[in-house]
Symmetry: C2
Subunit: 343 residues, 2 copies
Amino acid sequence: MRIALIGFGGVGKAFIELLHDKHEILKSMGLTLILKSVMNSKGGIYNPMGIDPLRLIEHVHQGGELCEFPDEGIRKETFQNLIMRRDVDLLIETTPTNNKTGEPGLTHISKALERGFHVVTANKGPVLLAYKQLCTLAAKSHVQLGIGCTTGGALPTINAGRFDLAGAQILSIEGILNGTSNYILSEMEERDCSYEEALKQAQQMGIAETDPSLDVEGWDTATKLLILTNILMEEEHKLREIRVEGITRLSPQHIQEAKKEGKRLKLIGKAEKGNNRTALTVGIEALSQDHPLFNVNSTNKAVRYITDTLGDLTVIGGASGTKSAAASILRDIINIYKGYPFV
Amino acid sequence: MRIALIGFGGVGKAFIELLHDKHEILKSMGLTLILKSVMNSKGGIYNPMGIDPLRLIEHVHQGGELCEFPDEGIRKETFQNLIMRRDVDLLIETTPTNNKTGEPGLTHISKALERGFHVVTANKGPVLLAYKQLCTLAAKSHVQLGIGCTTGGALPTINAGRFDLAGAQILSIEGILNGTSNYILSEMEERDCSYEEALKQAQQMGIAETDPSLDVEGWDTATKLLILTNILMEEEHKLREIRVEGITRLSPQHIQEAKKEGKRLKLIGKAEKGNNRTALTVGIEALSQDHPLFNVNSTNKAVRYITDTLGDLTVIGGASGTKSAAASILRDIINIYKGYPFV
């Protein structure tokens, strides 16, 4: 399978490393992934014979720019050329997300699907804004669109909801969907420290961004909840409908009081089917010890589905990180190769 | 899709009810399931126009024998006729399991696959003894074999391991795989009662069989663990290799002592990759509060996978029962209809 990667940040780089590490295992499945192009915001490279993942990673680790990768056979690449040339089977889209316009990811994904490439993306914006339209494009071109990485990375939220609950009606979705805020809450509880101290620690460890607002104010959770609800419950909600509360105003006292009662405070995204409508909320909840999400600590994430005929299903895991996000992209690629019907 | 059911016990009957209840939802997916034949050990019925699920269930609820179902157009059916006639697309196999010979399920499944029917089975024996051979038969006939119900019913153990961890190496499998023994352990802890009392309670509630030995002595757990290990870790172990311990010798003291230390005793099936070989065991373990399986109580089941690149994945749910087992059969049928590659 010939692949191209657009977006060469942490996840993109981790994916290239994984491509090298998993070469033998993929080969044993009969799957050889030939990396034809890699692009970032400054430009791109193309090798008709395939780019060597290991040499590219070494180049980057030595501080080299992507566009200056000096390997034999390397040419300059643009997205336009990639689309026109049509010599790849699958595009991996990992450019930064934009929840307002979806760009530039939305254009990349649409054009690639139109031209008959499969797409696997880690980019929430386009999925949030245009998932149905993108599925229509994919179906028209008889290709697949893998979005497993957009709602929990390694945690298989979409797959669990779609395939493992096939035939059941999902009555509610409840999840700890943001690893950064969950890590901060766990630290505040364990070390009995303030929000600010825990955030600083998370930033030092590379778990929180310099501007952590999307994570700690609940918007990342809301985005993932919205994607899950609209796809799995087949509804059409908008981000603005969701009542969103973050963790920034929590004091150590709040946490320790809950702890005294044997409870834990968690940032929960929840969609509950009511008589007339489904209510979506993101906020702090005090979970008791017997709640399936009580033990989901540190950067772990989890989602719980309640259904009519298949009971409760809770999926826990997916520690945050670029390596596991990259592995979740590879998972979608393998499943597309195996003929898994995503759209 | 034209279907036939062989095995008309609790799960088979629950499946027929589900077929009626889910008729509209299936139709909205474009899937109409026409029930052509139903067979049990005493004989079978066939209607070329389709058997009405609701009327069949009413007949059975009124104490009627399957073979005496008096509906218009009903004829006698044998398995031989079903195979020769070739007018169904999918066979559901739910006859009682036999871990020594796999029969009669093994013959039913093999013949059906050979003749080009998809098969969905709840029968552990044939999967335990001949999964690889059955997959070869299915591949030859270009049909699918769904076995989701054999290792945890509604709990998606096989799917989670196969699709959600694609590309990752599974380093260990650890599960609470038997609802009956987990229920007994939970009762012994909560009510501080003896094993015998908890078992009696489970029997009265229909959760334990009159002869509960397969469940409480750990063999059901061992069978499921073996199926998971051999399929997901691509190994070839035998039941006799597993060190199996059950819950029958546990006293209330054992449980209360663990409780005092904040721990819970659970019957755990475990497969761990070592340097040279994978060790399989079934036995009692004292789990601490932060263990992902600590909160899996009553008839709930769970499995935890530890992997190289996708981290830990724990799947909890799947309360035991004929209704959820039937729903897990329907799940496999829907996913086969959607083109999900099982084999």
